[in-house]
């Protein structure tokens, strides 16, 4: 019999940083060009299976997607209250959205959510010039890494369009929650390989023992 855990995950970040796209990609494996702006918040959930040797666990991720518009900030506590994990998103090509990350970190730390694990997620890698996209990277990985380390947070880069790093991100969230250690090197470094994200690579069951 698998152990079943439920955990609350909240997504925060500046408007247009790709929070909703990230979830739509994760939940239904599609990329939509025009997702609607989120108003208030939206909810979705997905179950993650974790297998570690003999041990098997199921983690239900209850994911809250929040509005990025600054006006809705006052409502945010309603949605992030009691979350065990917060994914703070920013657009890798938009410096201002990175600047917003610190705001959310402070907000979460101040508002008693001490047990909330932080994940900093740079989105839209497909748009960056280094992956063949049209835009220039606005935030360097070393900078974010240093920042994340200071906070004891984890940093990943994702692309909802080319489905890069997203499953890994949520598995990481689930594993951290369930107290699983990943048998290979932590995916922080892993996710930073600066190479063309390979669609088939992600879809294949990796050798990692999730």
């Amino acid at each position: 019999m698998d152990e079943v855990h439920t955990t609350k995950v909240v997504l925060l970040g500046r408007t247009g940083s790709g929070k909703t796209s990230l979830i739509v990609r994760y939940i239904s494996s599609v990329f939509s060009e025009n997702v609607k702006p989120t108003i208030g918040a939206a909810f979705s959930k997905k179950t993650v299976q974790l297998i570690h040797g003999e041990e098997r666990k199921q983690v239900v991720l209850a994911i809250w997607d929040t509005a990025g518009d600054e006006r809705y900030e006052s409502m945010a506590p309603l949605y992030y209250r009691n979350s065990s994990a917060a994914i703070i998103c920013f657009d890798l090509a938009d410096r201002q959205s990175y600047n917003k990350v610190d705001f959310w970190v402070k907000e979460l730390v101040e508002k008693v959510e001490q047990n909330c694990k932080l994940y900093i997620c740079g989105t839209k890698t497909d748009l960056l010039a280094e992956y063949g996209g049209p835009l220039k990277r606005a935030v360097g990985p070393t900078e974010v890494m240093a920042y994340a380390k200071k906070l004891n947070a984890k940093f990943v880069e994702t692309s909802s369009k080319s489905n890069y790093g997203i499953d890994d991100l949520f598995k990481l969230v689930a594993a951290d929650f369930a107290g699983f250690t990943l048998c290979e090197a932590p995916p922080i470094e892993d996710s930073l390989r600066l190479q063309e994200p390979n669609q088939t690579d992600v879809n294949e069951k990796s050798s990692c023992c999730f």
Binding site: G16, K36, F43, S44, K45, D69, S74, L78
Partner: protein
């Protein structure tokens, strides 16, 4: 009415704009630009009515059409009197001068595109092609006919040349000159033009004129003088002041009534006054533009197997197909077969066609139809004809008829007139255009960025709202709202709220803006305050109380699983459901909403909960919230 067709330039697959979003298809860009043409009305211009997108970037243009055109007239060899020629010239120039006020250049002016309407009046057609295709840059075929184009347009090459910019107004004046000359001398001036020829046009003219012109007498010298003037390229407006037109200037243009070839259904046209209405009824009666054009061989389809490319690159470019002749432009027009529809309308009871406003009058049949669901009613030709006539008359009597308007709108609102009816229901009065014009919609401010990221994500499945023209209008209206309401601020969601109004009043930003303002102040009072938390809290508290009052059992259950309205109902109320439903649903929902008072959105929310009551009662928190989430779960 006639329909013609052309293809927009296809975009290569997998190409993205600089902002990383996919490129807007050219047909959508054209659709957005086309809307302006619908609003252009002039006695010497054919009225554009609709543009429909077909498959594979094919576009269908519906517009007013007269069978006889100047080309036939010239070909027939019948001598035209000098006054007629002058009159034609004058009218063309008037039409052009009018178009120029909209910054529109015809560019494909030929005798074929000058149709002859009743009483010797002309009507220009195809005048919008150059405009809608953004100076030809959105199509693959060149616009314009070399024999009628001035040298500089020919030198610029067949397609849009960015470095030279779009053609100016004077291009058309040259064409007018050539057309007039042809009418005078009955010879095609440039039969075989090669692009490379650098021709000395005026000398050619001088050589042509004396030979063919002996019979024409003195007035004609004036005409020739005019032709020369045309070719010497003054603006249409300047030419209108020419003394030749002295006596014509007194005659004011008269708006001609609908004129349909061989049509004695006069009865109908006393009721349906606009082309738009006739076309709308026609398309309701399952009129299909594409099959019509296929039948008349204007669109030829090939089996797909014959058009397989030999080579396709990763970028989506295909090679090895013979160049498709269908991509070339064919300006021929197919007449819409209206007879069947007109017969159908003829069969309608006179009471329905001439509704009495002050008394209740409907026939049994109409009353029966009125009970059907809106989707079905909106497809019913006879019923819609009746409703359109009725509402048109009520709108003409607005605001005196407001009470009747309310009671009739309670039955339903005809989609064709929805925008106007809504504005009336919202009580819009006064000079909205002037108010709108006085608002500064350009100065950048801090809200711009939020508006800019929201618009490309707002109801983009809709062609109008996703077109670049639509985005520009969208931004203007939202900015106007922000600027004119200093105590209120832009909240994400205001874009969705604006969408239905913009869609309905695409050509009338001022009215869309006025409607939006009236709507917000009626249904969303203080929702857009900078700090709206107390307003929303109060609203949600009322909502909770209402659930508790109307359905204690449900409330008890929701309370137990701590499923509070704050978690799901904010987007409902803040956007009055525009964020939750697609446009078509919003239209029907708001048809009802606009009749109600400011607390009506709460009742709609209650209705939604009722509808899902059994699911809600049997589910826990997660399942409940998923029911209302627009994300996949």
């Amino acid at each position: 009415l006639g329909v013609s067709t052309f293809l927009a330039a296809p975009l290569p697959a997998n190409k993205y704009g600089i902002n990383g979003l996919p490129l807007t298809p050219n047909s959508i860009k054209i659709l957005g630009r086309f809307q302006l043409l619908k609003s252009i009305s002039h006695p010497y211009l054919c009225q554009y009515i609709d543009l429909v997108r077909g498959k594979h970037e094919r576009l269908f243009v519906v517009c007013e059409y007269n069978k006889i055109n100047l080309q036939d007239c010239i070909r027939s060899g019948r001598q035209l009197s000098a006054t007629t020629i002058a009159q034609v010239g004058y009218q063309i120039l008037q039409a052009l001068a009018f178009l120029n006020t909209y910054e529109i250049v015809h560019r494909s002016l030929t005798p074929f595109n000058v149709s002859l309407a009743s009483e010797g009046n002309i009507k220009l057609s195809h005048f919008g092609l150059y405009y809608v295709t953004h100076f030809g840059s959105l199509t693959t075929f060149p616009i314009g006919y070399p024999p009628y184009l001035p040298p500089e347009a020919i030198v610029a090459g067949p397609n849009y040349a960015a470095e030279l910019g779009p053609s100016g107004f004077k291009v058309d004046v040259w064409s007018v000159g050539i057309i007039l000359l042809e009418m005078v001398i009955f010879v095609k001036v440039f039969c075989h033009v090669k692009y490379t020829i650098t021709f000395s046009v005026l000398s050619k003219l001088y050589s042509l004129i004396p030979k063919s012109n002996i019979k024409l007498g003195i007035i004609c010298t004036n005409l020739i003088f005019l032709c020369k003037l045309c070719l010497s390229r003054l603006l249409p407006k300047q030419l209108l002041d020419d003394e030749l037109f002295e006596e014509l200037r007194i005659k004011q243009p008269v708006r001609s009534e609908i004129l349909l070839e061989d049509c004695y259904f006069t009865l109908v046209f006393t009721c349906l006054k606009l082309f738009e209405e006739v076309y709308y009824i026609w398309s309701l009666a399952a009129g299909d533009l594409e099959s019509l054009l296929k039948k008349s061989k204007l669109i030829k389809s090939e089996p797909p197997i014959c058009s397989m490319p030999n080579l396709t690159t990763n970028d989506g470019y295909a090679f090895g197909q013979p160049k498709d002749r269908l991509n070339l432009h064919d300006n021929s027009v197919q007449i819409l077969p209206l007879e069947k529809v007109l017969e159908k309308i003829e069969s309608i009871n006179g009471i329905e066609l001439y509704p009495l406003i002050e008394y209740s009058h409907s026939t049994e049949e109409t009353k029966e139809t009125a009970k059907l669901p809106p989707i079905i009613k909106e497809r019913d030709v006879c019923y819609q004809t009746h409703r359109i006539i009725l509402f048109q008359r009520l709108l003409e009597g607005y605001p005196h008829t407001l009470k009747t308007l309310f009671s009739e709108a309670a039955t339903d609102i005809p989609p064709l007139l929805r925008g106007k009816v809504w504005s009336a229901l919202l009580g819009i009065r006064g000079n909205v255009q002037e108010i709108y014009d006085l608002i500064d919609k350009e100065t950048p401010n801090s809200t711009d960025r939020q508006i800019e990221v929201d618009i490309p994500r707002c109801h983009q499945y809709d062609g109008l709202l996703s077109s670049p023209t639509g985005h520009i209008k969208f931004k203007r209206i939202l900015k106007a709202w922000v600027v004119s309401h200093t105590d209120l601020v832009y909240w994400q969601g205001l874009d969705s709220l604006c969408a239905p109004f913009l869609h309905l009043h695409f050509n009338n930003e001022a009215l869309a803006f006025a409607s939006l303002c009236a709507f917000i102040s009626k249904y969303l009072h203080n929702f857009f305050l900078k700090d709206n938390s107390h307003v929303i809290k109060e609203y949600l508290a009322v909502f909770s109380q209402m659930i508790a009052y109307h359905d204690p059992e449900l409330m008890d259950h929701l309370d137990n699983i701590s499923f509070i309205p704050d978690l799901f109902a904010i987007p409902w109320f803040l956007t009055v459901y525009t964020h939750v439903f697609p446009l078509l649903k919003i239209f029907h929902l708001w048809d009802a909403l606009l009749l109600g008072n400011s607390s009506f959105p709460l009742f709609i929310g209650l209705g939604l909960l009722f509808q899902l009551r059994s699911e809600l009662l049997s589910s826990g928190f997660n399942e409940c919230i998923l029911l209302f989430s627009d994300l996949p779960g």
